[in-house]
Symmetry: C2
Subunit: 293 residues, 2 copies
């Protein structure tokens, strides 16, 4: 797979690199941002660990690159980041731009099985089988065998889902306001039924609250922050972190979910960025990194 | 003046407060964001210094609130911030939405004298005589007698301009990629001629490179960062920090401008946020604050 560099933007001594490539999975061009910390340029012989950040509904790779404020912590610990897009764009599927809840900006990190969507909306295979291996080939200085994953909202769900489905592939996982039990919230039910139809056994293959019950990998602690003033949490019950926690109690990860319910915080990047530092420290620990400050 | 609170968003333990008010100067509703750091809530008996951030062309109060990454430093030192808007909005002046270079989002912090604009485009009086005194009355816990000013691009020009025109009112000034000599760059010439006409003596009343020659206030050092890979700097010559520096050599501020020309950085908030920490430390020093970390 070959990437074309659209833009390189210096940031905190490193660079935000905006890439584009043709995807075999989505049959579209796909955008992805990297952040290469200053160590990438200063120490070309040192391999750098990688943290993947999966974004939420309606986001592009730019939202978290601009508002997540990861860059100083990438430099503090010495890890790169990958900010994938949230769906194919311009696939031409009828209805894909109708709502923020499915289609463009809302791929839900699944491989669609419903015929209409199944040709392009393959974000599960795209991320895990195409994008990450492709980046590993193109950026030999990045160590994709020493990789962790995090995300926000739909991307928090995605991070947990990939982590539980690939035991041991990621050194650690964390999430900001994740859709923790998508089969039981309106966003998740909408997305899953659009892409997967109404067979709930297919939904279970992607639902973190179902996946954790069968999880048999490493028992690294999992860090989750959720804002108690987030209407998607307290009013719409989209997030349901309590369901994931409850399921974890009967699982190999019993006691391993560190769930912080934070007073007063909403669902925005004002919330995410407030806890970026904590999540960076969490992943750094399991990526074998220490603060250089 | 009375403010209505549109939204309060928790961020890094403090709050972004989105305010709206009727302005006598612009004859429109105006938006402004505050950041109240955690000390505002934890220590209600302590008055907090204030830093004003003036934004650049096309920005609203939200751009820097989301992407500037000031909040952790507000908390580190204990100062509040004010993020004003960059123009009236919806004033109804013919042509105000025609280009990003004047009109909506591009008030240039002047009081327009050209008749068409003069009723509403009064950002100089709005900021200095209405907004800051109004906030001082409404927020008695903020110390508007201990205030500094900074800004980006058009807002960097604005910060320098207000500082030079009001010797001693602001404890310190800094700027990110300021339009340092607007009379001699295309953005500045366009804005000034639209609002002030073609009498260049009127332009000189707002041009930092002219104002510094007559400046007779405190000799506090002034911190400026400019990206050398910013096309508005190296290609379009909109910024002209070298002209301000040269003028300073014949002024009371000789040797007092600390101008950092930074390799590789562009004009975006990726550049601004990379140096926010340095500017926060600069202002904290002159606001009498020390790091609480």
């Amino acid at each position: 797979m070959s990437f074309t560099t659209q833009e390189e933007i210096k940031s905190f001594g490193g660079k935000i690199v905006k890439l584009q490539h043709d995807s075999k999975e989505t049959k579209t061009k796909m955008d992805v941002n990297l952040y290469l910390p200053k160590q990438y340029y200063e120490k070309p012989d040192t391999k750098l660990p990688v943290l993947v950040f999966l974004s939420g509904l309606s986001c592009t790779p730019n939202n978290c690159s601009e508002k997540g404020f990861w860059q100083p912590y990438c430099n503090e610990y010495g890890f790169a980041m990958v900010f994938p897009d949230t769906s194919p764009r311009g696939a031409g599927v009828e209805g894909e731009d109708e709502t923020y809840k499915f289609g463009t900006g809302a791929g839900f990190y699944v491989d669609a099985t419903e015929e209409k969507w199944s040709k392009n909306y393959r974000m599960y295979s795209y991320i895990s089988k195409e994008l990450l291996p492709g980046l590993a080939s193109a950026y030999s200085q990045l160590d994709f065998d020493n990789i962790s994953i995090t995300g926000h909202s739909m991307g928090g769900y995605g991070a947990l889902m990939f982590y539980f489905r690939h035991p041991g592939r990621f050194k650690s996982v964390s999430a900001f306001a994740p859709i923790s039990n998508p089969s039981n919230g309106e966003w998740g039910r909408t997305g899953f039924s659009v892409y997967l139809g109404n067979d709930k056994s297919k939904w279970a293959e992607y639902d973190p609250t179902e996946l954790i019950k069968k999880y048999d990998g490493p028992t690294t602690p999992i860090l989750i922050h959720t804002g108690k003033a987030d209407p998607h949490y307290y009013e719409e019950h989209q997030l349901l972190p309590e369901n994931l926690l409850k399921a974890s109690e009967e699982s190999k990860l019993k006691g391993k979910i560190i769930s912080h319910m934070e007073d007063g915080y909403n669902h925005s990047f004002y919330f995410v960025s407030s806890f970026t530092k904590d999540h960076a420290a969490h992943h750094a620990k399991y990526l074998g990194l220490t603060s250089k400050l």
